[in-house]
């Protein structure tokens, strides 16, 4: 993978195929509060290739939503850079940033609160077309109908107000809005979490289809591991502001390397009583430590069943190894060796 450093100054973007769609470099976002500094994102390096879906999982407080906002320049990083298609968007002037916003966008969990209730669906979808001057007024209605069609909505819906729609339809409208300027990067922050399961399925299928047809890169943020496994090509796991593991979806879900990844995967209940009741349980002790004052060494060490002295003092860096079969995995754990082997988690744990 080429380092896009040199392209930052030029900022012309859409270069060769090996320029990643998104490259986060040593990204840090701290929030000052009265009680101290919240280290929400604390040194993240992450790459999304063109046309790839990267799943980002982690529990509340892990910093995954902050990372999503940083990725589309809705928050300013404390340090580090956000390079989209060769351009560092965290260093752009207001006007230049607005111009570039065409190429990246975000959808949120609750379309009810991110869509303007006083706009019709047609107006909501036409708005980004106007802002980015994508079509002339004359062709607007046709373009809106076309976009609605790509997200599986009938053209008549353009005259309705958002509150008249179901949750699933609203999420389709926010996808239509986000994708109208044909971005190269879409961040989807928990896009199905507010929906009923039967509706979730159709929205997940829609995102998969749209990504396949339009070829945008996608950062898919979710606490729903099953949805991430279904959709993502690669998966990153966050814990307390840091990425602890990145791997292709299959490796991560079948053989996670970081202890936290494994514990997280085993905690998500399977919709199959036999499998669910016979699997190993690892109940995670303690609470998530405060991002105001993350533990020294490995941030996971106070809750890790296999932590050793080194974990308490020395923060592990992300290391990359090649797994059997050729896929690469990165992980931040002292206890995983270069063959991807580490002590089992269960050995001295009482099973639940």
């Amino acid at each position: 993978m080429s380092e896009p450093n040199t392209a930052v100054a030029g900022g012309t973007g859409n270069g060769s195929a090996d320029v990643p769609a998104l490259h986060l470099k040593n990204l840090v976002k701290h929030y000052a509060t009265r009680r101290g500094t919240v280290r929400s994102v604390d040194g993240v390096d992450l790459t999304i290739r063109k046309g790839e879906i990267l799943g980002l999982v982690g529990e509340s407080g892990s910093g995954k939503s902050t990372l999503g906002k940083l990725a589309v320049a809705l928050a300013e990083p404390t340090s580090g850079s956000v390079v989209i298609d060769g351009t560092d968007v965290s260093r752009l002037s207001g006007r230049e940033l607005r111009r570039r916003r065409k190429s990246f966008n975000i959808v949120f969990q609750d379309p009810g609160s991110s869509l303007n209730p006083r706009m019709t669906v047609g107006e909501a979808v036409a708005e980004p077309l106007r802002i980015h001057r994508i079509v002339e007024r004359r062709g607007e209605a046709r373009k809106v109908a076309e976009i609605l069609d790509t997200v599986g909505l009938r053209p008549e819906i353009a005259d309705r107000y958002v509150h008249m729609l179901s949750g699933g339809q609203r999420q389709r409208v926010s996808l239509a809005r986000a994708l109208a300027p044909e971005p190269t990067l879409l961040v989807a922050d928990e896009p199905t979490s507010a929906l009923d399961v039967s509706v979730q399925a159709s929205v997940l299928n829609l995102i998969a289809d749209l990504q396949h047809d339009l070829g945008f890169a996608c950062l898919f943020i979710s606490h729903d591991l099953a949805a991430v496994e279904y959709l993502a090509d690669r998966v990153a796991v966050m814990y307390l502001g840091r990425v602890v593991e990145v791997a292709d979806a299959e490796s991560l879900f079948t053989r996670p390397l970081h202890p936290y990844s494994e514990i997280l995967l085993k905690a998500a209940p399977l919709p199959d009583p036999d499998a669910q009741r016979t699997r190993e349980r690892i109940v995670l002790g303690g609470d998530l430590p405060s991002p105001l004052n993350p533990p020294a060494g490995c941030r996971f060490h106070p809750r890790c069943p296999i932590a050793v002295d080194r974990c308490r003092t020395e923060e592990p860096e992300l290391r990359e190894i090649v797994r059997p079969g050729g896929a690469t995995s990165s992980f931040a754990c002292h206890l995983v060796d270069d063959q991807g082997v580490r002590p089992p988690l269960i050995a001295d744990m009482p099973s639940g």
Partner: protein, 327 residues
């Protein structure tokens, strides 16, 4: 033996735009030490149904049917009598413990209040009991945590406080309405373990309301699937997951991604259409408009719950008979 027996429960809620029949002739029972899951999507009536058992439903709702507990029909009892039943015999926990706890009072004190209401204990005895209860639900440093205010605790710890409050007077039935929905998966796993553990130790019956088939698979002995206010399928956990007979139950199960699904290139199947809002009980299957198998028979006459080949009881004229595996 059944601890709680609900017969033909209906809940009609008046709204500005006419009334809504949230629950439509729902019957189920739960036995001692049994965990019954009531599962369904938003608006199916699963929460209103359990809240209405003890007069906690929406204001002005009309509740009919029978709720049989310890030889009496709770729906005919006066509010005072119901208040004694709540907490003492049947206790609730809810999705969001933050809104159920008093933010200005230490959590231990709040549990003490429940004990003061329902049990005759001295103050010292109550304090000791709170620590005991906190230990039972896995709150570390229990005596210290009892002095904490709700905002000083994590979501998982707050839910543990709620559970300790609910079990404080040794109820025979615990009604848990989406108790883990607001929690992270690792915390959810711990809370589900606690509920199973309490069932085993105290012999409580648990009625668990959830939308999550994974949670059902983890904890329940039996399951009732609700759709548009009605129970459409009911049975043992093995039968409902292995051989679901109602097309809606199948739809719910195939809408959830399972491990390896993507590798197998199998697409998720949603359920087309939306859940209807029912104003009055219709003499037809309420799922018919979204069902690929529906015919005249489904639209003329409410299908009764009847034994299906797979061992569940199903309200469907054309139940599925194949195993759901390998579809």
């Amino acid at each position: 033996m059944n601890v709680l027996d609900v017969r033909d429960l209906s809940v009609e809620i008046p709204t500005e735009t006419g009334h809504v029949l949230a629950v439509d002739g729902l019957s189920y029972s739960v036995g001692e030490s049994e965990i019954l899951a009531i599962v369904g999507e938003s608006g199916c009536g699963k929460s209103v149904g359990v809240l209405s058992l003890l007069g906690l439903g929406p204001e002005h709702a009309r509740v009919t049917g029978e709720v049989n507990y310890a030889g009496q029909n709770l729906l005919t009892r006066k509010p005072d009598a119901l208040r004694r039943v709540r907490g003492q015999d049947i206790a609730y926990i809810f999705q969001d413990p933050m809104t159920a706890l008093n933010p200005l009072m230490p959590v231990g004190k709040q549990v003490e209040e429940v004990l003061a209401q329902h049990a005759s204990m001295s103050r010292a005895e109550r304090r000791a009991r709170v620590v005991e209860l906190f230990e039972l639900v896995g709150i570390p440093a229990a005596a210290e945590r009892a002095r904490a205010y709700p905002h000083q605790l994590s979501g998982g710890m707050r839910q543990r406080v709620m559970i300790s409050m609910a079990i404080a007077c040794g109820p025979r039935v615990l009604i848990a309405d989406e108790p883990t929905t607001a929690l992270d998966v690792t915390v959810q796993a711990a809370i589900l373990e606690i509920l199973k553990d309490l069932r085993d130790k105290l012999g409580m019956a648990i009625v668990l309301i959830t939308h999550d088939m994974g949670v059902v698979a983890d904890i329940a002995d039996r399951v009732v699937v609700m759709y548009a206010g009605r129970a459409i399928e009911e049975g043992g956990i093995e039968q409902v997951f292995r051989r679901p007979a109602h097309p809606y139950t199948r739809g719910l199960l195939s809408a959830v991604p399972v491990p390896g699904q993507r590798a197998a290139r199998a697409r998720l199947r949603g359920i087309p259409g939306t859940v209807p809002v029912i104003a009055e009980s219709v003499d037809a299957c309420t799922f018919a408009d979204r069902c690929g198998r529906a015919d005249e028979a489904c639209r003329s006459g409410r299908p009764p719950l009847a034994e299906a080949a797979g061992g569940t009881r199903v309200a469907c004229r054309h139940p599925e008979t194949k195993e759901s595996n390998g579809e």
